[in-house]
């Protein structure tokens, strides 16, 4: 501007813009500190460009001078320009926390389940690391404390197992998942027969029932009509290979009879299971967890169920 306009009151230079008759904009210089900070950010940006990946050039981009050295899965050492993926790989391989964890994981991996249970240090690690895996992968169904949800997901805090509680069996369950299946008997058995079998099932664990009906139910249970014995065995103790429940131990994983007040309600629950059958699935975790993580988890579950000395 050739002739700077001055504010008559202060004598300061203005931009010459006037709003609402007298409102003017002063043309003060930028504060020094602000100006130097601004120049500083420009210098920072240039330094940043030279170290980290920045400007695109055609189908590629400026890679920057910064480098990261990491190991490939094949064990080969590699140095590449700075990038988040390589940084993560390096952090997982040589980071302080990662190395601490790795030392424990290697120790647990080499130890037997008995050794883990007897070594307080490894036991403590299993409790804390296993809790992390359990919280992420298992707690959604089996709940944070392993208590399960009655009727839906079995509890893990007792020593009653559907698919077996040996380390090999638990390992198998985690790696391959499980498909629990009991057929619906609504077409094979009539209402009276269902009632009789249900009474027999209640009688096996000593719950109040109609003895006369139970006697008839026992014949159906162990006979051709019901065929229940094929999975639950004639003693009703169940088979780990089938995931069939032990019916004699008052532990209920599907029909939660302990929650019901009256004999009629308990009977109705059991009848419902017989009529509609059960289909339950535990997902495959063998692809989501590695062998050592599964081992920690098995050891953790043994701690949880209080059967680690088995």
């Amino acid at each position: 501007m050739a002739n700077p306009v001055k504010d008559p009151l202060t004598g300061a230079e203005t931009t010459g813009h006037v709003w609402d008759e007298t409102l003017q904009e002063f043309n003060n210089p930028l504060p020094r500190w602000w100006l130097w900070t601004f120049y500083g950010t420009i210098i920072f940006a240039i330094v940043y460009w030279t170290i980290y990946p920045s400007w695109p050039i055609g189908g590629s981009y400026l890679k920057g001078l910064g480098t990261i050295t990491y190991k490939t899965d094949a064990g080969e050492e590699k140095t590449t320009h700075w990038n988040m993926r390589a940084l993560l790989a390096k952090d997982m391989q040589t980071g302080e926390q990662a190395l601490k964890q790795k030392a424990y994981l290697e120790k647990v991996s080499a130890a037997s389940y008995e050794q883990i249970a007897q070594d307080p240090d490894m036991s403590a690690f299993v409790r804390s690391y296993g809790n992390g895996i359990f919280g992420d992968k298992c707690a959604a169904c089996h709940q944070a404390g392993g208590q399960g949800v009655a009727g839906l997901f079995p509890t893990l805090v007792d020593d009653d197992w559907l698919w077996g509680g040996d380390v090999e069996q638990i390992h198998q369950t985690i790696v391959n998942g499980r498909n629990g299946y009991m057929p619906a008997y609504n077409t094979t058995l009539d209402a009276t027969q269902v009632d009789e079998v249900a009474n027999y099932v209640l009688s096996m664990s000593g719950i109040e029932h109609n003895a006369e009906a139970a006697a008839k139910g026992q014949k159906i249970f162990n006979g051709y009509a019901g065929g229940c014995y094929q999975c639950h065995t004639t003693e009703g103790k169940g088979l780990y290979s089938q995931g069939s429940a032990n019916l004699t131990d008052q532990i209920w994983t599907v029909a939660d009879t302990t929650a019901e007040e009256t004999p009629a309600e308990r009977l109705a629950l059991v009848k419902n299971v017989i009529t509609n059958g059960i289909q339950r699935q535990m997902p495959v975790f063998g692809k989501q967890l590695n062998e050592t993580e599964i081992k920690v988890l098995v050891a953790y579950l043994k701690q949880m169920s209080g059967t680690q000395q088995q």
């Binding site: 988040m84 993560l88 952090d91 926390q97 992420d136 949800v149």
Partner: protein, 263 residues
């Protein structure tokens, strides 16, 4: 000549010039990603040579529509970043390739609930159904709303073919013609592989728009995702979608180094 004053006193011009200034800022960040060769990883099965990331099957696609309709993305992201804590909690970091057929993508930047990029195959169908109906019955501390109507609303799949055609227009390889399915050679002798060659027969059949309804019905029937075989509910579709998230790439078949090379 544009003068400072004339811009400041003309709001229409100010808006236009502001948009141009912001537009330049956005374009220089976004545009290069479209022509930098390594942005989207090439993820082919090392044994079979088939592409691992595939477009959603018709049933999964309807599930995704319901996911968007119910606003799941407002609380759940689908983007695992390459940090150690995220790797330990959620699994392998997300690849750009894994959302290349998502329109719009569901990355998100706000997690009220957990990230869902790798939720597929983690829980059982029964758990998902139970959890969507009443989240607190399985996760007591959850603040997620109940979605009971998913179970009682029949899935409307009458327009699934149209939805696939719309996605085909933006580049998702769903197929309408025999050539698109089986591949063709153009006048110059250039070969264009069809979905059959790219994804294998089983997947290619689910990408065929002409067979969309049959494929949807078959998957819903075989999967029985909501545990009720008598009808196909919105729950079936949503659970089918959730169960496929993050499962397409089998990371055990690759050296981790392979994915680092793309960055």
């Amino acid at each position: 000549m544009l003068k400072h004053e004339s811009i400041e006193t003309n709001s229409g011009l100010l808006i236009v010039l502001t948009l141009i200034a912001i537009g330049i800022g956005g374009l220089v960040e976004i545009v290069p990603l479209h022509y930098i060769d390594s942005t989207i990883e090439d993820v082919k099965d090392p044994q079979t040579g088939l592409e691992m990331v595939r477009p959603y099957s018709p049933l999964e696609l309807r599930g995704r529509d319901i996911y968007i309709r119910e606003g799941c993305y407002t609380c759940h992201s689908q983007m695992i970043r390459p940090f150690r804590d995220e790797d330990l909690r959620y699994g392998h970091y997300s690849l750009a390739a894994e959302s290349k057929y998502d329109h719009p993508f569901q990355w998100g930047s706000k997690r009220t609930g957990p990230d869902l990029a790798r939720v597929g195959a983690k829980y059982s169908n029964a758990w998902h159904t139970q959890h969507l109906m009443a989240p607190r019955s399985v996760v007591p501390e959850s603040i997620m709303p109940n979605y009971p109507w998913l179970m009682t609303t029949n899935l409307d799949y009458s327009d699934v073919a149209d939805r696939m055609i719309a996605l085909k227009k933006v580049g998702v390889p769903y197929t309408l013609t025999k050539d698109e399915y089986a591949g063709w050679t153009d006048d110059k002798g250039q070969k264009h592989p069809g979905t059959l060659e790219r994804f294998g027969e089983q997947v290619a059949n689910t990408l065929d728009i002409n067979r969309a309804e049959d494929s949807l019905l078959a998957q819903a029937k075989a999967g029985n995702y909501d545990g009720d075989p008598s009808s196909i509910s919105e729950m079936d579709a949503l659970v089918a979608y959730l169960q496929v998230l993050g499962t397409m790439v089998d990371f055990s078949k690759f050296d981790e180094d392979y994915f680092i090379q793309f960055r």
